[in-house]
Structures are given as structure tokens and as C-alpha cells.
């Protein structure tokens, strides 16, 4: 890659940074559409990363790794569902607690179950070069010479758009997130719809965490997500609860993050700490500028209990 220019390198970094973020944000989009907010996205990613590495070690394969990553994320989602839907706790409080729980349990298991030798045995995902497209200047290497999980993430965007806007299941999901009582009277099973969306979110965020660990560095470190889950949460808001909006938001944050990684190579004399702030600053500014016009699902984070 040495022969590539700065823009190409920037985009290549952005896509690898953005893929875990995209999986997680798309999962959150599905969940929030039905009215369930997951502050514990960060925790889901962390569980995904941990169980992804563990799975890849157990099964000696990347596929097993991603399956375990999805299950790890779904496990935390299931806990969230039990706390909020069965015990009727506040979704935000549950999310915050689960983040602390996920950080603690993965750190603990890292020191007891996952020995350091695991890192040596992980096979990386091979890149698949798409003929012709991959030789497009600037964007070719970034979007058409990547591992299979990058392509799956990018194809998920139109797929989820189609689900939400062109199917009756998508209508039911929106109804559950907008007016659960009304949705129920329209014959939508709000409880089941929310459970399914929540578990789907757990799987996707788990895969996002798995991508970070398996395709990224090949091992698990304590608190390795470092706030990406919260940025995914912000990306759904900035993307205005639309699939392609979420893609745009993720790209923006990913480019900001890639810029701080690559800027050092440009020889700019800005202290590293300031550069590292960049993606978070972009998040803050983007959200502050958009809060007034945003239009979240009306019943977001509001639990629904029929016959009360």
C-alpha cells in the first residue's frame, strides 16, 4: 500500500474502523425503530469481541468466531430484555449497568479463561479483491479490496432499508416504536417484535465487536472497544433513524477517526491527544447541530406492558 496517496490510505483506515461501527449502529437502528434503546451497545461489542476471539480459538476458524461473537452480543441483549421487559426496569438504567457488567465480566474472563496464547492461533480474514472495481483510484482499495465482513456490512444497509420501508414487518416495527398501544390494537405483537429486534441488535453489535477483535488485531484486550458503542448510539441519532443516514453518519465518524490515525504520517505538529479527540468532537458537534430537528421514535425507551 506504500504507493497509495493520503486519501486512499485515509479511506482504507476509515473502512476498517467504520465496519464494526456500522454493524453496531445498524443493530441499534433496528432496535430503536421498535422503541428499545441499548445504552449497553458498548457492552454488547465487548462481549462480541471476547467471545469472538474465544470462538475462533475453540473452533479453529473465523466462522465459528463470528457465530460466537453474535451469540455473545445476543446474550447481553437477552439480559437487557429480561431486565426491561420482564422486570420492567428503566431501559437507560439497565443499559448503563450492563456496560459496567460487560466490562467487568470480560476483563475477569480474560484473566481466567482466555490465556494470552490464544492470540497466536487466530487466523486473519483474507481480503477479497473485486476485479476492476478495486482498481478505481482512491475508493477502490477502501471499498473493493476488503474482507468478506466488510462487504456484508455494506450490503446490510440496503437490506435493512428494504426491511424497514418495504415490508409489513418493517411497518409493524415502526408501529411498535411509535405507538405501542395503537400497534397492539392493529394486531402487532409488540412484545415479540421488540424481543426479536433487541436480539437482532445484540447479534449485530456482537458481530461488530467480533470484527474489531478478529479482523482487526486478532486478540482481545481489556476494554478494547473504548467508546465505539457510544459512537454507534450517536450515529443512529445523527443518521436520523434511517439506514442510509446511519451509513453516512458512520462514514463521517470513521473518516474523523482515520484522520487522527493517519495525521501523524502527514507530519502535522498537533499533539496526539488533540487528534485522538477528533472523532468524539465530531460526534458532539454533529449531535448538537441536529438535536433540534431530530425526530426519534415516540415510544423510544418507553416500556410497554399490555392490560395495565
Amino acid at each position: 500500500m506504500g504507493s497509495h496517496g493520503f486519501v486512499t490510505l485515509l479511506l482504507v483506515s476509515a473502512v476498517s474502523v467504520g465496519t464494526p461501527l456500522l454493524y453496531t449502529a445498524l443493530g441499534e437502528l433496528i432496535s430503536e425503530t421498535t422503541g428499545v434503546i441499548n445504552i449497553e451497545l458498548e457492552g454488547m461489542m465487548l462481549c462480541g469481541a471476547f467471545f469472538g476471539i474465544l470462538g475462533a480459538y475453540w473452533t479453529h476458524g473465523v466462522v465459528g468466531g463470528f457465530v460466537c461473537a453474535a451469540l455473545g452480543g445476543a446474550l447481553l441483549a437477552a439480559l437487557h430484555g429480561v431486565i426491561c421487559f420482564v422486570f420492567r426496569a428503566n431501559q437507560v438504567v439497565s443499559g448503563v449497568i450492563l456496560n459496567i457488567f460487560a466490562l467487568g465480566i470480560t476483563s475477569f474472563l480474560l484473566s481466567t479463561v482466555l490465556a494470552e496464547r490464544v492470540s497466536k492461533s487466530i487466523t486473519h480474514l483474507a481480503d477479497i479483491k473485486i476485479p476492476l472495481l478495486s482498481s478505481i483510484p482512491a475508493i477502490g482499495p477502501a471499498f473493493f479490496d476488503q474482507d468478506v465482513m466488510v462487504y456484508v456490512a455494506l450490503l446490510s444497509v440496503p437490506a435493512i432499508w428494504w426491511l424497514l420501508n418495504r415490508t409489513s414487518l418493517g411497518l409493524a416495527m415502526k408501529a411498535a416504536g411509535e405507538r405501542p398501544q395503537a400497534a397492539e390494537s392493529l394486531g402487532v405483537d409488540v412484545g415479540r417484535t421488540r424481543w426479536l429486534a433487541l436480539l437482532a441488535c445484540g447479534c449485530l453489535a456482537g458481530i461488530g465487536g467480533g470484527q474489531l477483535a478478529i479482523a482487526g488485531i486478532g486478540f482481545f484486550t481489556e476494554n478494547m472497544t473504548a467508546g465505539i458503542g457510544y459512537i454507534a448510539l450517536a450515529a443512529v441519532i445523527f443518521g436520523r433513524w434511517r439506514a442510509f443516514g446511519v451509513l453516512g453518519a458512520v462514514l463521517l465518524f470513521a473518516i474523523a477517526d482515520a484522520f487522527q490515525i493517519r495525521a501523524a504520517g502527514l507530519g502535522v505538529h498537533i499533539p496526539y491527544q488533540f487528534l485522538a479527540m477528533l472523532p468524539y468532537l465530531v460526534t458532539l458537534v454533529a449531535l448538537a447541530g441536529l438535536l433540534r430537528r431530530s425526530n426519534p421514535p415516540s415510544a423510544l425507551a418507553v416500556n410497554y406492558h399490555p392490560n395495565d
Binding site: A175, E178, E184, D189
Partner: protein
């Protein structure tokens, strides 16, 4: 209205029957051993005051409320209705008082959702065409691609009906279907409902508008405090006897209001007032109004026509986007709520639970809140409970609030008593003008009458009163003049002595009329 009888013939099971339904909530028995049946093609009305248990009963039939005991029979077979979903599957449709549509979706999308998983399910892509056909079949004019949130209330009601009917409904329940409609919209809806009954649908109709019930229903059941007190055919009863059955005694008609042609000088006025609603839309546009001392200006309009926003802007709870507001000639448009109160402006807000009272505080505390900082209620920043209790006791006595004592939480009182607390608080300080928004909303006949009397007493004492209501009869009874709003604009002003509800209805629907 006479001569149509479609009750079930002997020996044949009714379409649907509720038997001995009992449902208790903490502290109140909403339905006490209620039995009621409905024949094929019959329109059966349920009347009663607020809290009589009508909505609970219909909720039981439609799977929204689980009864403690009792049975539901469909064509003679006992059935369990455990959820709204299941009720839909059985052919029970329910148009609730507050519509159960998803405002962010289109009419077609709402109908598609309602039909999901049923034999009549529509594919999302051919939605609009099929929904348009359905609308034509039932005589309901609607644009299938319009977003429900952008529709007028009358149109939303048609969408709600269409949604209920699209599924092949056999039993249709309607909760106060006329509450939000102009008289003309209601007449149109009556036609649709009659057509449905002729095609064999059984209709259960909850209402408190007795004239309309008598005109439309085959049979009428009266509920009072959770019990069914009478079931009769519409031919056998009149409005007076129905009203008496509802409240358990005869209610005296309010004495006609003494109206004088010459009032004092203008107390409260606006010029070119514009106010934005919650979603940033312009809710009130270019309103010029003036109320003289001792005068009652009624403001008519269907719900959502800008009355609430207008009242809030006058009182300072919402900022005016354009124009001026003056109180006795002084511009108060930029004053805070507290300053306007100090100048003698009172406000009875539309939503007393959220806007008027602090539910968890005691009656005494609520009564003293606007003047809590003044002597003798506070000294050196510390409240003085004895003075507050004495103040409370005096107002409770004067306004006849029914409470054991002033220390109980306001949230535990009935709606009528809560409204009396709001009024007592507003009326207990010197006022020059009072803005009341739906002051008798949700109150029973007795409570409403006493609230109206208190407000009218004030006008006789020289206070300017702006009286907003969705009930035309009420406005005609209390007002000197009536201003009509449609979608935030004034469509006309009428002298209350000459106005009729038909005229008002047309103007509420948007028909312009110059000052009478």
C-alpha cells in the same frame, strides 16, 4: 328515527353477549355484574357519565381489559378474548376515543398493518390502490398516501373506521365517535354507520350526546357507577328521562345568562397574534381578539384547532411568535407567567393534571402555590403551615371542594374536585381577566354546572373572561360573543344570542363568515 327495530328474534342467539361482567380496579368497581347483548345489524348505544364504566365494558369485549368474572358469548358460543389481536381475529373492531393510528405512517400503511397476518392481508406495494378501493366500498373518502399525522380529526376518524372495517368486522365498537367532530362531520359519519348496520354489522356506540344517540340507536343501555341501570329501545325514551337515569336524579337546567349589551372597557386584547405549536408548526395565525371587562368571549373549535396554544400564549406559558397581547392597554407580550399573574391575569389550563396542579402535593399547598412567597405564608424564607392551612380551609369552604381536609394529595381527588381546586386558586386573587381552557372537560353534569356558575359569577363582578370549549351548547349558554377557530385562524365571530350550533359547526369546519 322511528320504527326501525332489529333486535334479535326469540330463540336465536344474539350476535354477541356480555354476561355478568365484573371488573374492579383498586378503590373502584368499574363494571359490577353488567350484562348486555347486541343483535345482527343492531345499533346499541351505551350512555352514562364519565366514570360510569362504559369504556371498561367495551374494553372487555375488545380484549383491552381482562374482566375479573363474567362470560362473553359470540353467536351463543362462549369465547375468551385475551388480547386486542385476538379480538381482531374474531371480527371485533374498536374505534377508540383517542385514535389508535400510527401518526408517522400513511393511511395505507396503517391499514396494511391492521390486515397483516389475516386472510385479507395486502401486499405493501399494492397498498394504496387496495386501500382506495376499500374506502370507496364503505363510503369513506380518504387519500391513502397521506400521512395520518397531517390529517384533520374527521379524516383520522375515517381512517380509523376504515382500518377497523377492512378486516371484515362483525362487531364494531365506537367510543365517543362524535366527541371531536363538527356537527356536519358527524352527520356524514351517521350515514356511514347506518349503512354498516344495514349490511349486518352490529354496532356498540358509547356516547354522552343524548340527542344523537336517540337519533341513531335501536336500543340504549344506561350505566351509572359501574352498574347497568336500564336497557330500553330508543322509541320508548326521551332525552330528559335518559339524563335522569344517567345521574340518578333530575338535573336542573342552568339559569339563562343575563347578558348586557354594554360592557366596560377592553381588558384583554391581541393583535395579529401568532403562536407556534409543539412541533414547530404555526398553531395560531393572525388572531385579533378583545374581551371587555364583564364580558364572556367564547372560543369555539374542534380539538387541535389552536385553542390550547392561544390560551398558553396569553398566559405566558408559550411565547408568541408574532403580534401583541395587551392587558388593560399595557403590552404584556414579553412578561413572564409570574408577572402576568401579578397583573391580574388568571389561567385555567386545558390539562389540569399536568398543567394546573402538582398532583403529589396537598390541596392546601396547591391552593397557596402562586402566592407562597408572600406574607403571611412565608416568613424569613420559611413557610408557615398554620397560615397555609387556614387559607386552604377558607377556599375549600368557599368553592365547595369535597375533601375530608386540605392535607390530602390533589392527585387523589375526582376530576370535578381537582378542577374546583384550580378555579379556587385562580379566583382567590384579584383578577382582571381569566383565560379558561376546557374548564368542564371530563366533569359530570353536576360538577360542570357548578364550575360554570363560579366562572359566570366572576364576569358579573367585572372580570373579562375568555372561555374555550369544544362543546357548542356550553359556549352558546355562557358567552356574549363567540369566536370560531379553524386550524389556528379565526373563521368568524358571532353574537351568542343569534348563533346556532349549525352555524358554528360550519365555521369550525373552515367556512369563513364575517362578523355578525
Amino acid at each position: 328515527m322511528a320504527g326501525k327495530m332489529k333486535t334479535t328474534s326469540p330463540g336465536q342467539a344474539p350476535l354477541v353477549a356480555l354476561e355478568a361482567i365484573t371488573k374492579a380496579y383498586p378503590g373502584v368497581v368499574a363494571n359490577d355484574d353488567v350484562s348486555l347483548d347486541l343483535g345482527v345489524g343492531e345499533i346499541h348505544a351505551i350512555v352514562g357519565e364519565n366514570g360510569a364504566g362504559k369504556s371498561t365494558l367495551v374494553g372487555v369485549l375488545n380484549g383491552l381489559v381482562r374482566p375479573d368474572s363474567g362470560r362473553i358469548l359470540l353467536a351463543g358460543e362462549e369465547i375468551e378474548v385475551e388480547s386486542p389481536r385476538q379480538a381482531l381475529g374474531l371480527g371485533f373492531g374498536y374505534v377508540q376515543q383517542h385514535f389508535s393510528l400510527i401518526p408517522t405512517l400513511t393511511v395505507a400503511q396503517n391499514v396494511i398493518l391492521a390486515l397483516r397476518g389475516s386472510p385479507e392481508a395486502i401486499d405493501a406495494r399494492q397498498g394504496s390502490r387496495r386501500v382506495r378501493e376499500l374506502g370507496e366500498r364503505f363510503g369513506l373518502r380518504l387519500d391513502p398516501d397521506a400521512r395520518v399525522g397531517d390529517l384533520s380529526v374527521g379524516e383520522q376518524q375515517r381512517a380509523e373506521l376504515l382500518k377497523a372495517l377492512a378486516r371484515g368486522t362483525r362487531v364494531l365498537s365506537l367510543d365517543e365517535p362524535n366527541a371531536l367532530l363538527t356537527p356536519q362531520e358527524w352527520i356524514e359519519l351517521e350515514g356511514v354507520l347506518r349503512g354498516l348496520a344495514e349490511s349486518g354489522v352490529g354496532l356498540l356506540l358509547i356516547s354522552h350526546k343524548l340527542d344523537e344517540v336517540l337519533r341513531l340507536a335501536d336500543r340504549i343501555s344506561v350505566m351509572r357507577r359501574g352498574r347497568l341501570v336500564a336497557t330500553t329501545t330508543a322509541r320508548e325514551i326521551d332525552v330528559e328521562r335518559l339524563a335522569a337515569l344517567m345521574v340518578g336524579e333530575l338535573v336542573e337546567a342552568p339559569p339563562p345568562r343575563r347578558r348586557t349589551a354594554d360592557h366596560g372597557r377592553v381588558a384583554l386584547a391581541t393583535a395579529d397574534l401568532g403562536v407556534d405549536g409543539d412541533r414547530g408548526e404555526r398553531a395560531v395565525t393572525a388572531v385579533d381578539l378583545s374581551v371587555a371587562a364583564g364580558e364572556v368571549l367564547g372560543v369555539a373549535g374542534v380539538e387541535g384547532s389552536g385553542q390550547v396554544e392561544l390560551a398558553e400564549a396569553l398566559c405566558g406559558a408559550r411565547r408568541a411568535a408574532t403580534g401583541t397581547i395587551t392587558l388593560e392597554g399595557e403590552d404584556i407580550g414579553r412578561r413572564s407567567v409570574a408577572e402576568r399573574m401579578g397583573l391580574g391575569l388568571g389561567h385555567v389550563p386545558a390539562d389540569r393534571r399536568n398543567g394546573g396542579l402538582v398532583a403529589t402535593l396537598s390541596v392546601d399547598d396547591n391552593l397557596v402555590l402562586p402566592i407562597i412567597g408572600q406574607a403571611p405564608f412565608t416568613r424569613w424564607g420559611v413557610t408557615r403551615p398554620k397560615a397555609i392551612a387556614a387559607h386552604g380551609a377558607e377556599l375549600i369552604e368557599r368553592f365547595d371542594v369535597r375533601v375530608p381536609d386540605g392535607s390530602v394529595a390533589v392527585g387523589s381527588l375526582s376530576g370535578g374536585n381537582q378542577q374546583k381546586v384550580v378555579l379556587a386558586r385562580e379566583l382567590s386573587r384579584p383578577l382582571r381577566a381569566l383565560v379558561c381552557c376546557y374548564p368542564t372537560w371530563g366533569l359530570d353534569l353536576h360538577a360542570a354546572a357548578s364550575i360554570r356558575t363560579e366562572i359566570l359569577k366572576l364576569s358579573e363582578a367585572g372580570v373579562a373572561i375568555l372561555y374555550m370549549s369544544v362543546e357548542l351548547d356550553e359556549l352558546l349558554a355562557v358567552s356574549d360573543r363567540i369566536l370560531v377557530l379553524n386550524r389556528g385562524r379565526v373563521t368568524g365571530e358571532l353574537d351568542a344570542r343569534e348563533a346556532t350550533s349549525e352555524q358554528l359547526g360550519l365555521m369550525m369546519g373552515g367556512q369563513e363568515r364575517s362578523a355578525a
